[in-house]
């Protein structure tokens, strides 16, 4: 197990190296630069700015400098669009916000998805099942850029129960935080709730037919105990294996939600840095997202062994 993790970590570093290298050269190929604006800069001024960011050096040298700074110091350098701030600062500000949003969305998704899937699975082909699954289908189908504005219109503008867009984080206390973060978390979590419901239902249907469930019932256990103690653990394995990719998808998928609800997470930078040709920030966001995805995948693979005795990496 430990050997497996070490092996995976080493290969992850290689993957990240390839990603940084590829991203670096791909972004340099894109036409235009960070300091091209509607009003053209006088050549001397532009030269001075470029020299400040080493953009006047040959490409391989820029790559070397950037790599050295990242590997030795973990430093992506100053942002070119927001020169007062370093990329590390921008990422450090945005990551917790995106993570918090992702975690909240995941909790909401589980709170809604698990019970819905369980009930549906236990009452297969009844009206309850059909209702829940229709709801889940709708949840998967409605895109978040429709759901988000709809929720804003109903709950922030018509009823004014929540804020339309005004993320505070936890700094102002839990109440204001819920007021500003509930709608985006719900919007983000809805698709995943629906998917989790379908996975749980599927898992339940499979498990409930297994011999050992029959045995449990034959022992005379109460149905509640059979379901909660024996069936549930097996039924949620597909859900657990889905959580890693789901959380990763939430982090990256929150780009859209962050735009709709004006949330100061990583998403805006992820997209806008590319448009702005803010090279260090582009690299920073890509590396951060990649590292998160690699790590989450590893965590999921390890979790498999804990939940499912049939899986072993040794």
């Amino acid at each position: 197990m430990v050997r497996f993790i070490i092996r995976r970590l080493i290969s992850s570093v290689l993957v990240l190296f390839v990603i940084i290298t590829a991203s670096f050269f791909v972004m340099k190929v894109a036409p235009g630069g960070p300091f091209d604006a509607d009003r053209k800069l006088p050549d001397e001024v532009k030269k001075n700015i470029e020299a400040k960011y080493h953009l006047d050096k040959p490409l391989w040298q820029q790559y070397g400098l950037q790599m050295k700074s990242i590997v030795l110091h973990g430093d992506f350098g100053p942002s070119m669009k927001y020169p007062d701030r370093t990329v590390n600062e921008i990422l450090a500000d945005g990551l917790p916000v995106s993570m918090l949003l992702g975690v909240q969305a995941l909790i909401i998704a589980l709170i809604i998805g698990l019970p819905a899937g369980l009930i549906s699975g236990l009452k297969q082909n009844t009206l309850t099942d059909y209702t829940v699954m229709t709801g889940a289908m709708a949840g998967v189908s409605v895109p978040n850029f429709v759901l988000g504005p709809l929720l804003i219109w109903i709950f922030a503008i018509q009823f004014q129960w929540f804020d339309a867009a005004n993320w505070h984080g936890l700094s102002k206390g839990l109440g204001p935080h819920i007021a500003t973060s509930f709608l985006p978390s719900l919007t983000l979590g809805m698709y995943f709730a629906a998917y989790i419901a379908r996975l749980t239902r599927g898992g339940m249907l499979e498990i409930i037919r297994q011999d050992y469930i029959g045995t449990a019932r034959a022992k005379g256990l109460a149905e509640k105990v059979v379901v909660m103690r024996h069936a549930l653990k097996g039924a949620i394995i597909p859900v657990v294996s889905y959580l890693g990719p789901a959380f990763a998808a939430m982090l990256t998928g929150s780009v859209v939600i962050e735009k709709i609800f004006n949330i100061p997470g990583l998403g805006t930078h992820f997209v806008n840095s590319a448009f702005n040709r803010d090279y260090p920030l582009v690299l920073g966001t890509i590396v951060l997202y990649s590292a998160l995805l690699v790590l989450l995948n590893l965590v999921v693979d390890v979790l498999y062994t804990v939940l499912d005795p049939r899986v072993s990496y040794d």
Partner: protein, 561 residues
């Protein structure tokens, strides 16, 4: 599981995310179906009781994320909005574009040749840390902006000062000190600043209110270096001082305790709520979380608000022109008859109402007509005339429109630009029978193509920096880096040069008018519409007045609860 596919997946990720947002941001901002219905229903009956912030001494206004807060480096409007509230130049912008109000300067004198300006500074102007603001601060700050090492993107606006251009463009370190000393700005004593200009510049007073001309605190910059303008270090001399900047959330400014005129300030605190998109900003406004929505109205709401005469909406002329330009070295646009014909064949009167939908005035010329107010006789540009257009095209050898070479209109990807391009494409087809293709691209790609002159017809726009026709006309000088048409006309350049050195204001305006007539005759580019600015102002906010430059400093507002 092999690792390569995963790496490949990760690489594809950024492309996917970008694509997703490209689709969705359009939906979330431009075409929010939900916002469409809800808006007026609640906004109509909104009263002061609905304002979420109960303190009338706090002002809530919208903002996009500024690049930085150092006034000498700012080059975009978002940073400018904050700078106009937190820094104060010799003069400051007034509540309307017709007046400039003394700032750090009490008064000024201009020499008869219009080239030497002497400013008397008030003695009680102080930085927010209590240090006095002196004439030396201005001398040092302007030279800092011009220092090539500062790499200020807006330094060009100081080039009207003697020696400024040479110093700013000097690549040679050895000469720097001498060139720096030769810049025509001198602190005669702590409260007297003398400025030598290259030419009589009637709009110089206005320029002293522009953020690039604001003083910067030498003692703070020398202590903190590049990081001086961060909220924890910043020291400013305007009515307010930035105390917090939470990226993508808000900037908070509180009253500067040392401001010389602090008794007259309407607010103790200004909160600039930062949003990148118009959708969330507009939602915040409807949720009564903003007092003033500066421009950010989603396009889909404009028609509705105009139709319903939504009382919060203010539509005012804005000193900008939206235009199409030709690459005049690229056939067939090297033929002035072709350039004229294409301009004549567009019925511009419908664009404001039906295409961009903000009631923008059609542009027959290039200088904004708002400048009539200052005595500029705007020349009459050509009106829509499809018959004449056809005749000109025939004269140029294209009697049969099928023989006209197919070309492209290049523009950057944005709904509004697309609508205009489609309209113009259709007008040319209908009125002249010529075909063209639309070529949209990312903003930076378009800029590169324009700079490389790799286009036939392309969209652009110009926003005036000061209230004078020169801001629209020097743009077309042959050597102006922003003239991307390849058009260079000695007669035009001569008229602009003559206007620049003319001390008599009436003669000067007349020379500029003649230059614009040359431009209209030669058509290297043609105006499509003049900008309007559209803002939403809550009923409890007083003091909003039209400003041609769209500068609405917080000090002129008031909140009545």
């Amino acid at each position: 599981m092999s690792h390569m596919p995963r790496a490949a997946r990760l690489l594809a990720l950024s492309a996917l995310a970008a694509a997703a947002v490209a689709c969705s941001s359009k939906n979330s901002t431009d075409e929010t179906p939900a916002g469409e219905k809800g808006a007026a229903a609640t906004a109509d009956g909104v009263t002061a009781a609905d304002r979420k912030e109960r303190d009338p001494r706090v002002f809530l206004r919208s903002l996009g994320e500024p690049e930085y807060l150092d006034p000498g480096l700012i080059s975009e409007s978002e940073g400018g909005i904050v700078a106009h509230d937190t820094f104060e130049g010799l003069y400051q912008y007034g509540p309307t574009h017709r007046e400039w109000v003394p700032g750090v300067a009490k008064s000024h004198e201009v020499s008869p040749d219009g080239r030497t300006w002497t400013f008397k500074l008030r003695a009680d102007s102080k930085w927010s840390d209590g240090t006095p603001v002196t004439a030396k601060d201005f001398e040092w700050s302007w030279k800092r902006v011009l220092d090539p090492k500062t790499a200020s993107r807006y330094a060009g606006i100081l080039w009207v000062i003697e020696g400024a251009k040479d110093y700013n463009q000097n690549p040679d370190d050895a000469k720097a000190a001498a060139l720096r000393d030769a810049v025509g700005v001198t602190a005669l004593d702590d409260h007297t600043l003398q400025v030598e200009l290259v030419a009589p510049t009637p709009y110089f007073l206005q320029l002293t209110a522009f953020y690039t001309y604001a003083p910067a605190p030498r003692h703070v910059i020398e202590k903190h270096g590049d990081k001086w303008a961060r909220p924890e270090n910043i020291v400013s001399n305007g009515p307010w001082k930035v105390v917090e900047w939470t990226s993508q959330q808000q900037i908070v400014a509180t009253a500067n305790p040392h401001y010389w005129d602090k008794a007259s300030l309407p607010f103790d605190k200004i909160v600039y709520r930062i949003t990148q998109e118009s959708g969330p900003a507009h939602n915040m406004y409807l949720g009564n979380e903003l007092d003033y929505l500066d421009s950010k109205i989603p396009p889909s709401m404009l028609t509705k608000y105009t139709r319903e005469r939504f009382p919060d909406m203010k539509t005012t002329p804005y000193l900008g022109v939206y235009f199409y330009m030709y690459n005049v070295k690229k056939p067939p646009f090297d033929d002035v008859r072709v350039r004229k014909a294409l301009n004549l064949a567009i019925d511009k009167s419908k664009i404001g109402k039906f295409v961009v939908k903000g009631g923008q005035a059609p542009a027959a010329n290039i200088v904004h007509p708002g400048l009539k107010e200052m005595g500029y006789a705007v020349p009459q540009g050509p009106e829509f005339d499809p018959e004449k257009a056809k005749a000109l095209l025939a004269e140029a050898g294209y009697a049969d429109p099928k023989t006209f070479p197919r070309f492209q209109i290049s523009y950057n990807t944005l709904e509004g630009h697309k609508l205009v391009a489609e309209y113009i494409q259709q007008q040319w087809k209908k009125n002249l029978g010529i075909e063209c293709d639309l070529d949209n691209m990312e903003w930076k790609v378009l800029l590169k193509k324009q700079h490389d002159r790799d286009f036939a017809v392309s969209r652009s726009a110009w926003i005036g920096d000061y209230i004078d026709p020169m801001t629209f006309l020097d743009l077309w000088e042959g050597d102006n880096p922003n003239n991307r048409t390849n058009w260079a006309n000695p007669k035009y350049d001569g008229l602009i040069a003559a206007a620049r050195s003319e001390a008599d204001p009436d003669k000067r305006l007349d020379l500029l008018r003649q230059a614009e007539e040359v431009f209209l005759e030669e058509v290297p580019a043609f105006g499509i519409y003049f900008y309007v600015k559209q803002d939403l102002v809550k009923p409890w906010v007083e003091g909003y007045q039209p400003h041609l430059q769209g500068i609405h400093a917080s000090r002129y507002f008031k909140v009545k609860l």
